[in-house]
């Protein structure tokens, strides 16, 4: 690799050719402020906050887009640089509406913290903020407040570069420029998949999740209601970050304890229904394989996983001709929701109409999923309110709970048990690994032939990963699978799924099962997780998931005793009559 030598603030540096000044400065331990830059996105250099001075050049350079070159002498904190950054901030503030005190982003807002850093305040320039801007709160997941937008275009780049959706784009020009949906229509009526990745990357409060905290407090404080809560696998490796802990700490016990302290009557685990999902989805895959290979009938392949509601909505918009390929299994959130108001209510002799079912998710799309009209199989709305990891952290702060000092708590029973296979649902490839651990064992009677059950070929950060597992010596009832090479693929970062579909449409896709998670690195990188987000932070959360799973006594979904009891007492068998009634769903074409 060709190297270049330069100095930054008189520190001599040698960096690879192609390194930007921003990256070089970071190496030298120097922080350059940015607003439009984000480690997940292609740099555009439009906010001009990261400017630096190069000796011998009269103008300033945007460090995020300028590559280091031989002999450069860079100053990142000269009077000229500071003055320029201050002006940029003053200009942004002059057209930035809203009030920090009432803004949900306060404390996390990068415009706010940089303004404080540079002693810039609103009013230094004539205020031209448009306070009449209508807030779009039509979406069940995301609230868009254009008055706070600084047009850094991080959301737009996220939506197209990472997610391949393009629900929003920069519209108009000059003073009228803004981030708009097509013809600026309400978010609810667009192709937005509610993933919330834009929310995770918005440097101000222009994009926020829709909050249901007050509704949940109201339910908790209502003596007539029994408030049941469930927590998704990825929440426990993100929650700590919003409560003062470093990234990569798994806080399962403290989280369960905090939920009890907040006043939830019953604390259940979505990991339980992740195991349940594996039972249903694994058997669905085997049933499809049986139809195709044994009965020589028509079965739809590749089969896609269905845990991710953002992916589901994307498929409904973009690939309606492939909806039969998606597993009919509801997501773990919705499976547990349906079981809480039926099986659990029956077992505990609770009137299901008195249950308020709350779920804590790393995800904003789950808010939309819970409101889908199909999700009322219990006779009620199966899940009443969905809170993000961030909202739960907010409630914990509101309640004055000292999270770090909490004793480890436990989940309630039944439906509080989860195996390691369920925990890894939180990371990309986890659903696939869990499914294969169970399906392989159902078919052959033997555990998967991998060290410690760790199917490492399925893990990693590549946007599309593929693996094959050969089935040998199956049980007699699965003789049709003898010698079959099961081809699977894993996709995360929804933009990557378009490439997979090119092959499927061309008829050259070799896969039987494809796991799709919309968000980068899976649910641990979900749109409801604490901010900031970056590849490094998500790597730490992923590591926490896999380390956490190694410590669990059971690591195969079919060994979950409470799941076994649920089948014995209520559902009878996977894909049975009751399963179809409560645990499976259908999809619809959307325009």
């Amino acid at each position: 690799m060709e190297k270049v030598k330069l100095t930054i603030n008189s520190i001599p540096l040698e960096v690879n050719k192609g390194t930007t000044l921003l990256e070089a400065a970071k190496k030298a331990g120097i922080n350059i402020p940015t607003l439009c830059h984000h480690p997940d996105l292609v740099p555009t250099g439009n906010c001009r906050l990261c400017v630096v001075e190069q000796k011998g050049i009269p103008y300033l350079l945007a460090s995020c887009t300028t590559q280091a070159s031989e002999g450069m002498e860079i100053e990142t904190n000269s009077p000229k640089v500071r003055e320029s950054r201050k002006t940029v901030l003053e200009l942004l503030l002059a057209e930035h509406g809203g009030n920090c005190i009432s803004c949900h982003a306060s404390g996390k807002c990068q415009l706010q913290s940089l303004s404080q850093e540079y002693f810039v305040q609103k009013g230094n320039l004539t205020d031209i903020a448009c306070e009449e801007t209508e807030i779009d709160d039509s979406s069940w997941s995301i609230v868009k407040d254009d008055s706070k937008c600084i047009r850094c275009m991080r959301c737009v780049r996220t939506c197209s570069e990472l997610m391949g959706v393009g629900a929003i784009a920069g519209a108009h020009k000059g003073s009228e420029k803004g981030v708009e949906t097509v013809v600026d229509k309400e978010m609810l009526c667009t192709v937005c998949i509610n993933c919330g990745q834009c929310v995770n990357r918005c440097p101000t409060g222009a994009l926020q999740e829709k909050r249901y905290i007050n509704e949940v407090w109201e339910a908790i404080n209502d003596p007539d209601k029994i408030v049941v809560v469930q927590t998704a696998p990825a929440v426990r490796v993100g929650l700590g970050e919003d409560l003062g802990l470093p990234a990569g700490e798994i806080v399962t016990g403290k989280m369960a304890a905090a939920l009890k302290k907040l006043g939830f009557d019953v604390v259940l685990d979505t990991n339980f229904s992740a195991d349940l999902t594996i039972m249903e989805e694994g058997h669905e895959l085997l049933s499809r394989l049986g139809t195709a290979l044994r009965d020589k009938g028509k079965a739809y392949f590749p089969m896609f996983t269905s845990c991710c509601p953002a992916w589901i909505k994307f498929a409904e918009h973009e690939y309606p001709e492939f909806l039969e390929n998606i597993s009919t299994c509801k997501s773990p959130q919705q499976m547990l929701g349906a079981m809480i108001k039926t099986y659990f209510a029956e077992k505990k002799k609770i009137d299901p109409s008195k249950i308020v079912s709350v779920s804590i998710m790393p995800c904003t799309a789950k808010k939309f999923e819970a409101g889908r009209p199909e999700m009322q199989s219990s006779g009620f709305q199966d899940v009443d309110y969905v809170l993000t990891t961030r909202e739960l952290a907010h409630m914990i702060r509101q309640a004055g709970i000292k999270f770090e000092d909490l004793e480890e708590g436990t989940f309630d029973s039944p439906m509080g048990e989860g195996t390691g296979a369920a925990l890894i649902f939180g990371a990309t490839g986890g659903v696939m690994e869990a499914a294969i651990r169970t399906a392989y064992e159902v078919v052959t009677g033997r555990p998967v032939p991998f060290d410690n059950l760790n199917i490492t070929p399925l893990r990693g950060t590549e946007g599309i990963r593929a693996a094959s597992i050969k089935i040998e010596d199956p049980k007699p009832e699965f003789a049709f699978l003898d010698g079959v090479e099961l081809n699977v693929a894993i996709v995360h970062g929804l933009a990557n799924v378009r490439k997979v579909f090119e092959d499927i449409k061309a008829g050259v896709s070799p896969y039987h099962l494809i796991e799709v998670m919309a968000c980068p690195n899976g649910c641990i990188g979900g749109g409801g997780q604490p901010t900031p987000t970056s590849p490094e932070i998500r790597k730490k959360r992923t590591a926490a998931i896999y380390e956490g799973e190694m410590k669990l006594p059971k690591r195969k979904s079919h060994e979950n005793e409470e799941v076994q009891a649920l089948y014995r007492e209520f559902l009878k068998e996977p894909l049975g009559h009751k399963s179809h009634e409560y645990l499976h769903t259908s999809y619809k074409k959307r325009t």
Binding site: A167, A169, K173, T181, V182, V183, T190, V191
Partner: protein, 155 residues
């Protein structure tokens, strides 16, 4: 109607990304403005997100993503025209058409807008009606011009 117009424009120019602007232009010529339906159909043809097509269309002053009349009047708002009696011309237009700036007449014939400098400073004040420039305007002259356009409708 949208589909036929879009199909014809796409057939003429193709669906390479670089042909988006010519297609937007052609559809705009036929329909005066680009509706959500137009933008969505074009997006589908180009395999682009509809929001991106809206992004391109809304960037250009001469493409409209809001309903406009058959004749779009754009009065120059820049300094030379302003100093040469643009205000009186604008007042006359508002009075004759009985609309405010930014509005469209009830019969959907005229929309009144402003534009930045068109380079006709030596013949100020100037205005554009669709693709035709009208210069050295006075309130009287404006009255005649609008009458001509109104009569065109009948012919």
């Amino acid at each position: 109607m949208t589909k036929e117009v879009v199909d014809a424009a796409v057939a003429e120019y193709g669906t390479e990304r670089t042909n988006l602007l010519p297609v937007l232009h052609r559809v705009s010529e036929e329909k005066h403005w680009l509706s959500e339906d137009d933008l969505t159909q074009i997006a589908k043809a180009f395999s682009l997100p509809a929001a991106e097509v809206h992004s391109v269309a809304s960037f250009y002053s001469l493409l409209s993503v809001k309903p406009v009349g058959k004749y779009v009047i754009r009065v120059c708002r820049t300094i030379s025209c302003h100093m040469n009696g643009k205000a009186a011309v604008m007042d006359a237009l508002k009075k004759i058409l009985d609309i405010e700036l930014g509005e469209t007449t009830q019969d959907n014939q005229f929309t009144l807008l402003e534009t930045n400098c068109m380079g006709w400073c030596e013949a100020a004040p100037a205005m554009l009606i669709n693709d035709t420039v009208h210069t050295n305007l006075t309130p009287e002259k404006v009255r005649d011009i609008i009458s001509d356009y109104k009569n065109k409708r009948g012919s």
